[in-house]
Symmetry: C2
Subunit: 506 residues, 2 copies
């Protein structure tokens, strides 16, 4: 490497480190606001976050950044750089181009619009009045189309440009067949389950569970599966989330319902799944944009794997049920481990996505995916959404939401302009099943280890094959390297059919 | 005001707001590091704090700041500005000049030195070996002298320049007579107490106090005195502190000793005294450097007033003792309120400043004050410190530390270059007594209110006369306006003599 290039590369890494420091600081300020900050300090806090975010944006789109990227992204330079710096350049360039391609005034207008839209969405949901939200959503869709024009698209499907924001490389051509299989098979399975006379008894899950005891049990389970409390912490917040400042400080939050068992425990395991990904990223990626999950879908594969494929599995509870009964003797008195396992896996078509069970969850995603594609490709109008929504709910899940608040208005995503995000939730399930299938083959005694509570080999496998890379490998590269094939929903459907056929004795 | 000046003033306020946002963010990162952050994330966190502090320093010393200050600190401009902006300009200018007068290379060298010195000081204290620390302390003193040369001094006493860093306007000429009176009278009083046969029984304070119950009782007391938990929170840390992000978010920390009652409760009240100052600063000062206590001495007057003059007073416990006995029935069984009051006010000459009682505390400060003056004015050498220290301890307190660890090496301040800071601790006591004297006259039924637990009139008085101003008034202006005179130790000595004569029946 030439001396000049080396100097530029070093200066670039220092610049990126500064940028990353801003991101980490802003994340701490957000976490503190959501979990710790007193009410009266919120307003000033928001202003501080806004100011630092503005400074961060300036750094990411500065003339200095432009000059770094011009020099370092030349093919000869890229080739000469070490791999971390090379990937960092490419990641920064992607971000820089995205930011620069949109005129500042347009983006400013969009920020104001989505900020207003979130408030209006809340009101519309509260009043169950879609017409309030409709004009905002129409404008937001128009902005998405404008952004696609600025960013360009692959000529096949405009929606691909949005998918790429959350799942780099993912396309409608790949997703359509995957999701069609998933949807058709799931609809059949849900119908069969509805007709099964062998319903689980879920009454034990709706008893009184003191919050402090739930928290203690969640901690116990998280320690068992290997979330590192020396590199994180668990707090309470209105909406559960995971936030990573650096691999040595990845925090999760949980919410508790004293009259419902599933929310806190499975929510904690879900967030711990996200967190263990971030905790195990190679430390050499610290202070670069690569120190993050490679995509929303791969991230979700980790949370779903731990929440459902481990946390809602029979071997897991075979190993843990006596601890659960010790923690909540009255609540689970007379409930067998099998009865408990069936209860936490109850399948019930319902209106609200975030409360959906493991099986019907994907059908909620299918509806949003189809609507998003339709809006972006012009085959659907915003005004049609309530009707389409309810028709699809009836078609896929066999239920029709009685209100738009329980239907098309339930999720915040669109009000914030997040189009292309929803599919990653189901992709996470698809990936998780593919990975679990390989783990079963590669980790000897896989199910026994789960029953014994020995998760070290599984964690090691995930770290080696997925976590350590951060954004150094694309989602496709990971899936291909691990499974020897592309994204494939067959494994998820096989897993779901096997699991739920047994539970419902189909 | 000219349009141009108005534009400059507005731009300056925006610039200062950004600077303040950095300060607030850094304070949050520090608080989180001290109270919440997991062990493995500490190293990266320190780097993030360092980076943001560097950016903050750049903003405070930038060409842009220089230009603002040049324009806005011209006499005609200053006169035309509103009072908040005027004081902000003066405050920023003071800071800017201090930073700019020291050559960057010199300051960098100093930062490295003090960073090393803190580590060496820890080691020296651990090994009880002053000679390890001596060369570092000598260099640190040389730097203080160099700084005084850069900053200039008033021609009367070089030490005044350092005093001004922590207590703007305070001088040796003012302090010497105040501290001499205080010292001479205190030494006499301590000697008389030593000879008194009427010693309090402190055994009840050394029983077992479960930490959770101590915490609950501290919260109860803090709510009673009026620390606003909607604008703050109380956490645990190794060293108690108070940190203000904005008046709506002023947090305190406490440490607990399960086998000692005083530490946590009086520590909490002390920090809450600091915090109530910050919580009651006028919100119009938010996002300016004026949104802070006006000096270390005035700040300490607030913590000491609540800790000692309220928290260790008989009326206070007359009102609260039944609650205390309810919280700790076994521990205070058979202890009368008078016995408890005498116990928490026990006077014992001891080696460690931070563990000293209300009376002997000031003697610890006198020793440090005299040593600092001697070092800065060249009448004392660093090598002489262990000897001088022990001689003065014997002379003032009647005890000689058996080791330097329990003597000259006990405090961290000098290793970090904090010279001129110690006197503000005793000044806080002096101010507090002056303020309390005026309150007794101006607040009707002052002692009854304390006994009733009705602290609203006292808080209101403090807010009106002190808190609201932040840095808008200098310490001298505050003291003069409130008391009609200057700093005067008579009130403190009268208070101490009256209080301890009664307790020890002198």
């Amino acid at each position: 490497m030439s001396t000049n290039l080396e100097a530029r590369s070093t200066a670039f890494r220092a610049y990126v480190k500064k940028l990353s420091s801003y991101n980490q600081a802003i994340a701490v300020l957000h976490w503190d606001k959501a979990t710790q900050a007193p009410r009266k300090g919120m307003e000033a806090r928001s202003e501080v976050i806004g100011t630092l975010a503005g400074e961060q944006f300036k750094l990411a789109t500065s003339k200095e950044m432009e000059e770094f990227l011009e020099t370092l992204s030349e093919p000869a330079a890229l080739e000469a750089l070490d791999e971390v710096t090379r990937h960092t350049v490419l990641e920064c360039k992607k971000e820089y181009d995205r930011n620069k391609q949109i005129p500042a005034a347009t983006y400013q207008e969009y920020v104001v619009l989505t900020s207003q839209a979130e408030t209006i969405w809340e009101e519309a949901r509260e009043k169950d009045d879609f017409s309030l939200f409709q004009p905002y959503l129409e404008k937001i869709v128009d902005f998405q189309l404008a952004f696609i024009d600025y960013w360009g698209h692959d000529g096949k499907n405009k929606y691909n440009t949005l998918l790429d924001l959350y799942e780099p490389g993912m396309t409608v051509d790949q997703l359509d067949p995957i999701f069609t299989t998933l949807r058709e098979k799931t609809v059949k399975l849900v119908a069969a389950i509805a007709e099964s006379p062998n319903k689980p008894d879920t009454s034990s899950l709706k008893r009184h569970f003191p919050v402090a005891e739930q928290e203690a049990f969640s901690r116990f389970v998280l320690e068992r599966i290997g979330y590192d409390f020396q590199a994180g912490r668990m707090d309470r917040s209105a909406h559960p989330f995971c936030t990573s400042f650096n691999p040595g400080d990845v925090r999760i939050t949980t919410r508790y319902d004293a009259n419902e068992f599933n929310t806190a425990l499975f929510g904690s395991i879900h967030e711990a799944g996200h967190a263990m990904y971030e905790q195990n990223i190679n430390p050499r990626l610290l202070f670069t944009p690569l120190c993050d999950g490679t995509s929303m879908g791969i991230h979700e594969s980790q949370s779903r794997f731990w929440e459902n494929m481990i946390g809602r599995s029979l071997p897991f509870w075979n190993g843990l049920y006596s601890d659960l009964q010790k923690a909540f003797p009255a609540q689970f008195d007379g409930v067998s481990v099998d009865g408990f396992y069936r209860a936490i896996n109850e399948v019930t078509p319902s209106f609200i996505r975030i409360e959906a069970d493991e099986l019907t969850y994907n059908l909620h995603i299918m509806i949003r995916y189809e609507i998003e594609k339709g809006l972006i490709n012009g085959t659907l109008k915003v005004a049609d959404l309530p009707t389409i929504w309810n028709e699809r709910m009836q078609e896929y899940l066999g239920v029709t939401p009685p209100t738009n608040a329980l239907g098309v208005l339930q999720d915040i995503h669109w009000s914030g302009g997040s189009f292309g995000y929803f599919p990653t939730y189901s992709l996470g399930n698809v990936y998780a099943a593919q990975f679990a299938h390989v783990m079963e083959q590669q980790i000897s005694g896989y199910h026994d280890l789960i029953a014994k509570g020995d998760f070290a080999p599984i964690r090691e496998w995930l770290k080696t094959n997925i976590h350590q890379y951060g954004k150094m490998k694309s989602p496709q590269e990971l899936v291909q390297a691990i499974t020897g094939e592309g994204t494939n929903a067959t494994y998820l459907m096989d897993y779901l059919e096997k699991k739920f056929s047994a539970i419902y004795q189909l």
